[in-house]
């Protein structure tokens, strides 16, 4: 890969590296290394976001007019790769990567002015209200409703799996504003403050024992009319636009970082272990196989990026990337657990690993925790079954 970089790209990469060396503090790196969930907890993720904002790099993917960077696809890619390699805390995408593109494409200038700066500088933190208990893969069946009442929308119903709602101060939400016609035609897209009266949040604990998910209840919640993005009942178009962004990012930069980490764990687990040499060899073959898969994914992602820069449609590439990226991540974390062996049996918070004369292996705790969290990767952002359906439907259409 290295050799393929142009001198300009190399210079850019070195600039990012120098910045990271100076600004990514040991505490932030540690938070990044200990993050076994989807992304870092709000405090660490947001601290890092603010550091990047100080350099003008918190939302590079946005148009320059809104504070983004005029980078080539390759620069975006290198930036993500360097962040992952340096163990930067992974930042939550709901604000910068999901609602922001929607606001830029569908929001009024007043809405853009109201919400985009807070996302860019890290003063606002967003959560995504799409799924409901009865509506997951079949999102169009959603029931949480909003009706007009004077100069307000009044929301009643519930949303579930709302990641980091406990940290968020803003929410974007799909609501049913009409029950006439096809289910897709009666949906609207609202943005509002979590602090609005009538909203309650119930924590949901995940398999790993972490708290990332929540259920959110709306009881007669009144939000101003200009919470509506785009037209009333146009929400489905917006939702699909957003999902393209949710699924569309490149996976290989962060996977490359994870691959290296698993490789280090493998070396450490078997150093000085002659008896277990055959097992080490077996695991190395699998790790090598994942390396090949990663090379192929990276090549596909770079080709897609270049095609998009040249104006090609996204088509099914977000779905393919989501499938390949999440399944490769799951294979990597599963291998990491096998490398950890017995060290993956205890179940304790990572920061407690060494806090005792009888230390636990922090790597073992990390391996099992990320394996458990990663089971969700084939479920969120549209399950992998649904992605396969989308790909097949596209291929068989016409």
């Amino acid at each position: 890969m290295q050799d393929l970089l142009t001198p300009e790209e190399q210079a850019f990469r070195d600039e990012v590296r120098a910045f990271l060396a100076e600004h990514l503090t040991p505490a932030l790196r540690e938070a990044g290394r200990r993050c076994s969930g989807i992304f870092a907890e709000y405090p660490q993720g947001n601290d890092w976001h603010r550091v990047l904002a100080g350099r003008g790099w918190s939302v590079p993917q946005w148009p320059v007019a809104f504070g983004g960077c005029d980078w080539t696809p390759m620069q975006h890619y290198l930036f993500a790769a360097e962040l992952a390699a340096a163990d930067a805390p992974p930042r939550a995408p709901m604000g910068p990567g999901m609602v922001a593109p929607v606001l830029i494409a569908f929001g009024t200038p007043a809405q853009q002015q109201r919400w985009l700066p807070g996302i860019r500088d890290g003063s606002d933190y967003w959560c995504q209200g799409y799924s409901e208990p009865g509506s997951g893969s079949d999102l169009a069946s959603l029931q949480c409703k909003a009706r007009r009442d004077g100069d307000h929308w009044v929301i009643d119903g519930t949303k579930i799996w709302t990641t980091h709602a406990q940290f968020a101060n803003r929410m974007f939400c799909l609501v049913r504003t009409s029950s006439a016609g096809k289910p897709q035609t009666g949906i609207s897209f609202l943005c509002f403050d979590i602090a609005t009266p009538g909203i309650t949040i119930r924590p949901i604990h995940s398999l790993s024992g972490d708290h990332e998910l929540n259920q959110v209840f709306f009881d007669n919640v009144r939000v101003p009319l200009d919470s509506l993005i785009g037209q009333e009942n146009q929400g489905w178009t917006i939702a699909k636009y957003l999902l393209q962004h949710e699924r569309g990012g490149a996976y290989s930069p962060s996977l490359r970082g994870r691959w290296r980490r698993v490789a280090q764990a493998l070396d450490a687990a078997f150093s000085g272990h002659r008896a277990a040499a055959p097992e080490a060899q077996q695991l190395r073959l699998e790790l090598a196989d994942l390396h090949c898969q990663l090379d192929a994914l990276q090549a596909l992602e770079l080709r897609t990026l270049r095609a998009q820069a040249a104006g090609a449609e996204r088509g099914i590439s977000p779905s393919m990337g989501k499938l390949l990226g999440t399944e490769l991540k799951q294979a990597l974390t599963a291998l990491h657990v096998r490398i950890a062996g017995n060290a993956a049996v205890p179940h304790a918070p990572l920061h407690q690993a060494g806090a005792h004369a009888l230390a636990l292996s922090e790597d073992g705790l990390f391996a099992i925790s990320s394996y458990l969290n990663d089971r969700a990767a084939s479920i969120y952002a549209g399950t992998n079954e649904v992605q396969r359906n989308i790909i097949a439907a596209h291929l068989l259409a016409g």
Binding site: S131, G134, S135, G136, S137, D138, S141, I160, W161, I204, H205, S206, L207, S208, G209, L213, A269, F270, H273, R274, A275, A276, P278, E279, Q282, L283, V337, R338, G341, N342, A343, A344, V345, P346, H347, A348, P349, H356, A357, L358, L360, S361, I368, L372, R375, A376, S378, I379, Y380, T383, E385, R388
Partner: protein, 386 residues
């Protein structure tokens, strides 16, 4: 290939299931980090008289012969697996009890009698941090002592399941050679509260408890040994094989629950105006889950018959057990991961028992040798046999 049916064993299984059903609420939302309920171990003896079922009459148990003892062991393990029970039956009765029974010393006989009536609970302290499943990978050392402490035990054991609840530990250590040598090993029975033992208790993946244990000059006398001095290798290997087979039986209960829950979920959950069961890709997954389980169940039953055969050589036993453990490993992984996936968001939470059964299946896959380690053992046994 199915195991012979046996009314007594079925009755045992039923009474245990009823007893567990009264005590365990599978719909209870257990947090992965919540402290586990302690075991109801003594009740297994006093309410059910069940702890003697896996031992022959000669050893103070209830089974007529080794075949019946193993049928009972496996039925008990399968039922405990079905109820996500934290009862430390495998470490205490299968491994600990088996070693006591074969040791035959006066101490061992006395402790076995206590085990059968529910007063003693044993934990199996064999694995060490960084050890990779080789039974001889033992560094814990017996050094010469003096007086009653003929030896002093130093070393570290890891992930000792149920240790905080135990009365005794069964510890492997070496008096000669180095980690990886089959010769020079000992097996020692120690009270949990012996001087020089320190512990760190943790939750385990499957919501049980386990400990990291350090031995710092713990006094060991001749009477504490459960195998001839320096020659415990074969006893350790056998204990590990028996533990692996018992875990295989437990997995059958665990994966049955995962399968049943998934089948019901597919029938009940509606998306796109139809039950999930209408989607063919999910039907095929369910079929594959079933097949993986059926294969594992057939093999575990067959190996359960073999293991009771006194003429079975250690190599044949190892091959048979490894084969069962590999089949079970596949079933645990396939059934567990697919159950979670097909439950969607609900599957990755603590709100349903599916997640806890999944973690138990994962832990079974990892315990007493992972599938990968058993495959490698099969390779090495096949290459060493003529």
């Amino acid at each position: 290939m199915t195991a012979p049916r046996d009314d007594a064993t079925d009755a045992l299984r039923d009474s245990l299931a009823r007893w567990l059903a009264d005590r365990i609420d599978l719909n209870h939302h257990a947090r992965a980090d919540a402290p586990p309920a302690g075991p109801a171990w003594a009740g297994l003896a006093s309410d059910l008289g069940l702890l003697g079922a896996g031992f022959t009459e000669g050893a103070g148990g209830l089974a007529a012969d080794a075949a019946e003892a193993w049928r009972n062991h496996l039925a008990i393990c399968e039922t405990l697996g079905e109820w996500l029970s934290a009862e430390p039956y495998i470490g205490s009765a299968v491994v600990g009890g088996g070693l006591l029974q074969r040791a035959g010393t006066a101490t061992a006989q006395a402790v076995l009698a206590e085990l059968i009536d529910g007063r003693a609970l044993l934990a199996w302290a064999h694995a060490e941090p960084g050890a990779r499943g080789d039974p001889a990978d033992v560094s814990a050392a017996l050094l010469p002592g003096e007086g009653r402490a003929e030896w002093l035990l130093h070393g570290r054991k890891t992930a000792v399941v149920a240790a905080p609840w135990a009365t005794h530990l069964v510890v492997s250590a070496r008096r000669a050679g180095q980690a990886g040598d089959a010769a020079g090993l000992d097996l020692i029975l120690l009270p949990l509260n012996a001087a020089g033992i320190s512990r760190r208790d943790t939750r385990t993946l499957d919501c049980g408890v386990a400990s990291e244990i350090a031995f710092d000059g713990v006094a060991v006398a001749q009477a504490d040994l459960l195998a001839p001095a320096g020659q415990a290798g074969p006893a350790i290997a056998r204990a590990l094989d028996e533990a692996a087979l018992a875990l295989c039986a437990e997995s059958l209960g665990t994966t049955r629950r995962l399968f049943d829950a998934t089948r019901s979920h597919l029938r009940e959950r509606q998306q796109f105006g139809q039950p999930l069961a209408a989607f063919q890709v999910l039907q095929h997954r369910l079929a594959d889950m079933h097949i993986a389980r059926e294969l594992a169940a057939a093999l575990v039953a067959a190996v359960g018959v073999q293991i009771a055969d006194a003429t079975l050589t250690p190599e044949a036993r190892a091959l048979a057990v490894s084969s069962a453990k590999v089949a079970v490993g596949k079933a645990c992984q396939r059934v567990g991961e697919q159950a979670v996936q097909m439950h969607g968001g609900m599957g990755v939470t603590e709100e349903l028992a599916v997640g806890r059964f999944f973690r138990r299946a994962l832990q079974i896959e990892r315990s007493a040798g992972s599938s990968g380690q058993h495959l490698l053992r099969i390779v090495s046994l096949q290459h060493s046999s003529p």
